[in-house]
């Protein structure tokens, strides 16, 4: 095994001219996307395979990645979804008896370009103050000019529709087909454990491509509709808003997570906005205004629901608030069986405090059976 000094160099360029040399890890090549950071200390594999990260280059704040290798079960989709990875240290040799592979081999297999030996803390502070921006990582080019050319190819995240890229192309079924409850899932980039969480609670799911009309969903005769998480700007997804509006009119039990939360908000005339640098991690405190109890949540979002409009809305009620910055974490549609949260109650990775929300959804459906 080569020691660190012997590994090949890699280069990172940010839109604002920040340029750093690091070491290559994973696949060789050039990649680009919007830079963001995740503060979680466990669950890197689940994060890398989360479709909501599509189009993004991820900084892991935690100083070590790869310590426990990878395991086939610990994935949220069939492949790595992040566009690039920036780390402080990567463990080439892992320790986990039940693991299937090393992170290095896994990333090569998934053709992911990664860079390490970067001062990730300084970089995160920079993003925190300057806001999200695009970046490129390359193991092939190191001249700033050449990298700048690459950077031009990376699209701006605002206004970008990305769900179509990660959504299923064909509908498929999930769970026990004899289950008493049927749920139609609008897949904008759904995480596998969200489906699992509903199936575990006795639901049979049919997962639909992102651009599916309400009429098509109705053919499944679902008892409830789930609006999934996913990447990109909800403002570019009028097709999804239209479907959800129709579902609301039909008084179908609805549950939305993350992007699904933003779409439910938009379906109720509440605008969304691009956040300065987003929330990504496993430690965000959220207060449930209905029970008074708080929960530690998993988060991954770069867009948010406009707080002013949500609070003043006559259509929805704010049910959950972020204890750190007061942002809107959950809403319920007044007089309709529909609610949504900005965070990830399936929590893979992350604390399981919010899994009760799936129970709530199932109960809501059962009440209407």
């Amino acid at each position: 095994m080569p020691t660190q000094t012997e590994s090949a160099p890699a280069y990172l360029l940010l839109e604002d001219g920040t340029y750093l040399k690091g070491k290559s890890f994973g696949a060789k090549g050039t990649t680009g996307g919007e830079i963001c950071f995740n503060t979680g200390m466990t669950g890197y594999q689940e994060v890398f395979t989360d479709p909501s990260y599509y189009g993004q280059v991820l900084i892991m704040n935690s100083v070590y990645i790869g310590n426990y290798g990878v395991k086939n079960e610990d994935t949220e989709s069939d492949s790595v979804k992040i566009r690039g990875l920036i780390c402080k240290n990567i463990s080439e040799r892992y320790s986990r008896m039940i693991a299937d592979d090393s992170l290095q081999d896994y990333l090569v297999k998934n053709n992911l370009v990664a860079i390490h030996d970067i001062d990730t803390r300084a970089l995160v502070q920079h993003i925190r103050s300057k806001g999200a921006m695009n970046c490129v990582i390359s193991t092939e080019k190191h001249e700033i000019e050449a990298l700048r050319e690459e950077l031009k190819q990376v699209p701006d995240m605002a206004g970008l529709e990305l769900s179509s890229f990660v959504s299923t192309k064909e509908p498929y079924y999930f769970g026990d087909k004899n289950a008493a409850i049927r749920i139609a899932v609008l897949d904008y980039g759904v995480k596998r454990h969200i489906l699992q969480s509903m199936a575990d609670r006795g639901a049979y799911l049919k997962v639909y491509p992102s651009r599916t009309s309400y009429t098509e969903l109705a053919e499944f005769e679902p008892h409830g509709i789930f609006i999934s998480n996913g990447p990109g700007d909800p403002a570019s997804m009028d097709y999804a808003v239209a479907t959800v509006k129709q579902a609301l009119e039909q008084e179908k039990p609805l549950f939305g997570i993350c992007l699904g939360h933003q779409i439910l908000a938009r379906a109720n005339d509440i605008p969304t906005f691009k956040m300065h640098h987003g929330h990504r991690g496993l430690n965000h405190p959220v207060k449930n205004l209905q029970t008074g109890r708080s929960e530690i949540t998993t988060q991954n979002h770069g867009f948010g629901v406009d707080p002013e409009s949500a609070r003043n809305s006559d259509k929805v009620e704010v049910t959950h608030l972020n204890l750190n910055d007061g942002s809107i974490e959950g809403i319920r549609v007044k007089g309709k069986p529909a609610f949504s949260v900005q965070y990830h109650p399936e929590s893979t990775p992350g604390p399981h405090d919010s899994r009760y929300l799936f129970d709530d959804f199932i109960s809501m459906i059962k009440e209407r059976l």
Binding site: T5, L20, T39, L123, V124, P349
Partner: protein
């Protein structure tokens, strides 16, 4: 739920004298709790018998009781004060046990005092091994197979049923006292007997041993609304079977997948919620089977602990402070993050660095002790190091230990052969990690090392990376040939300049430093902010690291690598005393804390440098700026270069800080107060005696020697009995009294074996003389005698181990006057600015000076407490030159006498000779006030004074 306004006054119970397993971490938590409650306008009454603590300082509480931790003392306090509630979760096992005793007698009820933070039922469930086990089974949490035994016979039966190996865990003991493994049938009976006798209720748990499993801890907070947050996950480097206090520990957990982590988190939360009435900080320990990732619960501690003190320092999250607020009714979501001041206290800290804690042992003080590490804690202190790579944190921890380690390099020169190494590392000992590194260097495979040690491969790989880099550096025989990127990597991996110098062999550490400085390979300082930089933090808590991005010439842009911004204020650095050990402990934390506060009062920016996580002086809001770094020259020097302080205070951090004086002097850095030269005179036996001779002050005859021949010569001159000791040591290390040539030679040989090349001091020993000591403050013109303490035991017992009475009780006025006179003369002659401690021997009416230390001594806090005078505050202002003694109106308040009682931890080392001598062995002390010499406790003590020699 907002705070319970019916609580207007709270009693906090401290943990008493320092013993192994219960040290100054409880001063840290108690102090934080006291401040936290007073912030809320609550009156705080505090009891602790330990005078060296900050928590018992008048500034910490509304009323402080320096009383023995007994039911009687509690009753006295309740009679004298109107107390609404008692908080027993801040003073370790001692406080919990006392609260329980008081409860059993119905005293809390009688005085209408509520127990807050925890209720008795919860304590019982957690502390009683059998109740805990039953409770876990009820909850469906797996535990190791076990049975409770109250007799030898029962124990033997259960052992037979479960099968060896087993673990014996006594109920209600401290730091795992009396516990142990039984691997072989022959050991069973003795181990059971010992365990049963160690338990106050004669009860042990006979448990199936889970050898080779990994050990983890979670530190949690829970409020009375059932909100729970995990503040920190800690992974033990050492596998199950070694007390966590004796394990190297790492935070955050390094080898835990999210599924395993969440399984632990869920289990811990379930346990916490089911514990009963509890609001505060708690610790849960788990073992994990690496083959299946199943876990079992080991124990739960419903109180703040050594681990929570570490977790607080490791994350920046002040657990005790928040725990105290939760105890008075607040819920987590109502409180703010103390570090960011803008986000919520209800969150789980995210770390973007690695923490390594290493214990510090003192086996050299306990000859004959079994130094195998196991279930019973044996270490006396600990260090914590922070780095951005695991090897960096690990090597910084080694550099913090003060056992001559310059990194993860051999501390002993003895080279073992491969077979010996393999045998050596099978047994967990204090230096096993150093030997594991040697074993890897010798080419033993990671697989083999893992098999014999059960240490996780990930950690072994990291050590192997250190070895590989070491080999690579060795290839370049000259510093000039060493490629820049190899040097960069060495620094990123935590190698000290000294290590690099020894590896390239042709240069000094200083040259490595200058060389790398030219290459811009300098430290940057990063903040400990609880949130991995997600939010802006206000806390001035820093650690050093090396970042490629910062030191690479290719980086472009506006990134800020160094977060420690230097202010334009006048700054002073206070040096701490490193890990606690026998002879240098909590007293110096007391001194440093006061030094920092006094410097702040004088308008300085007060900067703290230390690596001991148990201390108050390293709390996030004591100093203006904290560098959590080894008290090791290379680190200190880079901080000085960065901060450009006005000066450095070395007087308050014991011998550790004093050792830095020579380097500071050579670099031309101002030493605050007494100069390096006056310290050197006092330390150098030759120079000091010459000075005394010149001043006409008597001292015992002495001589110095470098080998046994010279020593025999000197002994003949000064006359037997003689005291033999090395120069520049702490707490009488390796000091002994000998009465003839044969003993002398033996002593000298053993000394030279351990400290080759050391100058040996040989003093005539004044047999059966009386001993006393004086602490004083001098401003260069005037000397104030803080106190005279007379030792009860005759000479021959180290001053730290003897009972001492303040003021003197038996010495004649003439003798006292003479001591005062000598002390004043010496202080002025040494041009002391600040503190000095002088030890005297009195024989046949004649006063001899034994030694002088121009720094804060072990007794300084004691005297300050006994007289109720803020002596450390005064001394700091004097040494800074901000005030003269005449500016203070010093009034000593003491009725009767204050007696200092040494406290020992011999129960941790059953086979050790408990005889006292010139080498210090006590781990802590208590204070006891007596009205007069007729006090029955004192009379007994006095009558038996000579018996202590062989106790």
């Amino acid at each position: 739920m907002p705070r319970d306004t019916s609580i207007k006054s709270v009693l906090i119970i401290g943990s008493g004298p320092i013993v192994i397993g219960q040290a100054c971490e409880f001063d840290y938590s108690g102090s934080q709790a006291a401040r936290s409650l007073r912030e809320e306008g609550i009156k705080v009454i505090l009891i602790n018998s330990n005078p060296a603590t900050i928590m018992t300082d008048p500034m910490m509480a509304d009323r402080v009781y320096l009383l023995p931790l007994t039911v009687e003392s509690i009753e006295q306090i309740l009679q004298e004060n109107d107390i609404d509630a008692v908080l027993p979760t801040m003073g370790g096992q001692t406080a919990l046990n006392l609260a329980k005793d008081v409860d059993e007698l119905g005293i809390w009820k009688q005085y209408n005092v509520r127990l807050i933070g925890v209720d008795i039922k919860a304590i019982d469930k957690a502390e009683d091994r059998e109740l805990f086990r039953q409770w876990m089974l009820q909850l469906g949490v797996p535990v190791a197979q076990a049975r409770t035994a109250n007799s030898l016979l029962e124990g033997k039966e259960f052992a037979q049923e479960i099968g060896l190996p087993i673990v014996i865990r006594p109920s209600y003991t401290l730091g795992g006292s009396g516990g142990g493994f039984v691997m072989h049938k022959e050991e069973l009976e003795a181990a059971l007997d010992h365990g049963l006798k160690s338990s106050p209720i004669h009860e042990v748990l006979v448990e199936k041993a889970v050898l080779g499993w990994k050990e983890f801890e979670l530190e949690l907070l829970r409020d009375n609304r059932d909100n729970v947050a995990i503040i920190c996950s800690v992974e033990n480097f050492d596998p199950m079977g070694i007390h966590t206090g004796d394990s190297i520990t790492v935070a955050p957990a390094m080898t835990l997948s999210d599924t395993a982590m969440q399984l632990m988190r869920n289990t811990a939360i379930m346990m916490m919620r089911d514990l009963g009435n509890f609001a505060g900080g708690c610790n849960v320990q788990f073992a994990l089977n690496p083959e299946t990732e199943e876990i079992i619960a080991i124990e739960i501690n419903p109180r703040v602990s050594r681990s929570s003190a570490l977790a607080s320092k490791a994350t920046g999250y002040p657990i005790a402070k928040i725990a105290a607020k939760l105890a008075i009714g607040y819920s987590l979501d109502e409180l703010e993050n103390q570090i960011t001041k803008t986000t919520s206290a209800y969150f789980e800290p995210a770390l973007d660095y690695v923490i390594v804690k290493m214990p510090r042992w003192n086996f050299d003080k306990f000859k004959g002790a079994d130094d195998t590490l196991g279930l019973q804690m044996k270490s006396v202190g600990e260090v914590m190091a922070i780095g951005r790579t695991f090897p960096e944190a690990l090597q910084k921890a080694c550099q913090s230990l003060e056992n001559n380690a310059i990194g993860l390099s051999s501390v002993s020169s003895a080279k073992l052969r491969v077979e010996e190494l393999l045998e050596y590392i099978k047994r967990p000992t204090w230096d096993r990690i150093f030997k594991i590194k040697d074993a890897i260097s010798a080419g033993i495979s990671i697989k083999t090392i893992r098999e014999v040690t059960h240490i996780d491969r990930w950690f072994l790989y990291q050590i192997q990376d250190i070895v590989k880099l070491e080999n690579k550096i060795k290839e370049y025989a000259h510093l000039e040939n060493l490629p820049d990127d190899v040097l960069r990597e060495a620094k990123i991996m935590g190698f000290s300049d000294e290590q690099i110098a020894q590896l390239v062999k042709d240069c000094t550490a200083e040259e490595v430093y200058e060389h790398r400085k030219k290459l811009n390979i300098k430290r940057v300082y990063k903040m400990v902010d609880t949130c991995s930089a997600e939010f802006e933090a206000k806390t001035p808590y820093f650690y050093s690291t090396f970042e490629s991005s910062a030191i690479s010439p290719e980086s472009r842009g506006e990134l800020v690598f160094n977060e420690s911004k230097v202010s334009d204020k006048k700054k002073v650095i206070v040096l701490g005393s490193g890990p606690n050990r026998i002879g240098q402990g909590i007293e110096f934390d007391y001194c440093c804390t006061h030094g920092l506060l006094a410097a702040k009062e004088c308008g300085y920016e007060a900067i703290m440098v230390n690596c001991n996580p148990e201390t108050v002086s390293t709390d996030f809001d004591i100093a203006d700026k904290l560098y959590f770094e080894p008290v090791y020259w290379e680190h200190l020097w880079e901080i000085i270069e960065h901060e450009q302080p006005y000066g450095v205070i070395v007087q308050l951090g014991g011998q550790t800080a004093l050792k830095m004086a020579q380097w500071l002097h050579e670099k031309g850095i101002k030493i605050i107060g007494s100069s390096y030269d006056s310290m050197d005179i006092a330390e150098d036996r030759g120079r000091f005696s010459d000075l005394l001779k010149e001043m006409g002050i008597p001292y015992p005859n002495y001589g110095t020697a470098y080998d046994s021949d010279e020593a025999l010569e000197v002994a003949k001159e000064v006359g037997y009995p003689v005291l033999v000791r090395p120069s520049y040591v702490l707490g009488g290390q390796r000091m002994r009294i000998v009465i003839n040539d044969e003993e002398l030679e033996k002593g000298v040989l053993s000394l030279l074996k351990h400290l080759p090349g050391n100058k040996i001091l040989i003093d005539h020993f004044l047999d059966r003389c009386q001993e006393a000591e004086v602490d004083a403050i001098c401003d260069g013109e005037e000397v104030h005698i803080m106190g005279i303490m007379e030792h009860i035991e005759p000479a021959g017992i180290h001053s730290g181990d003897s009972h001492a009475v303040l003021p003197s009780f038996n010495l004649g006025q003439l003798e006292v006057d003479e001591m005062v006179d000598y002390a004043k003369k010496i202080a002025l002659r040494l041009n002391v600015k600040g503190l000095i401690n002088i030890q005297f021997a009195i024989k046949d009416g004649k006063v001899y000076v034994i030694e002088a230390n121009p720094r804060a001594s072990r007794t300084t806090p004691f005297i300050a407490k006994a007289y109720g005078v803020p002596y450390l505050n005064i001394a700091t202002k004097v040494m800074l030159g901000e005030k003269k003694l005449k500016d203070f109106d010093i009034v000593k308040k003491l009725e009767g006498y204050a007696v200092k009682e040494p406290v020992f931890s011999f129960n941790k080392f059953p086979k050790v000779n408990k005889e006292l001598g010139p080498e210090m062995k006590s781990t802590g002390e208590a204070i006891r006030f007596i009205k007069d010499l007729r006090d029955p406790w004192f009379r007994t003590l006095y009558k038996e004074r000579s018996m202590h020699l062989s106790k």
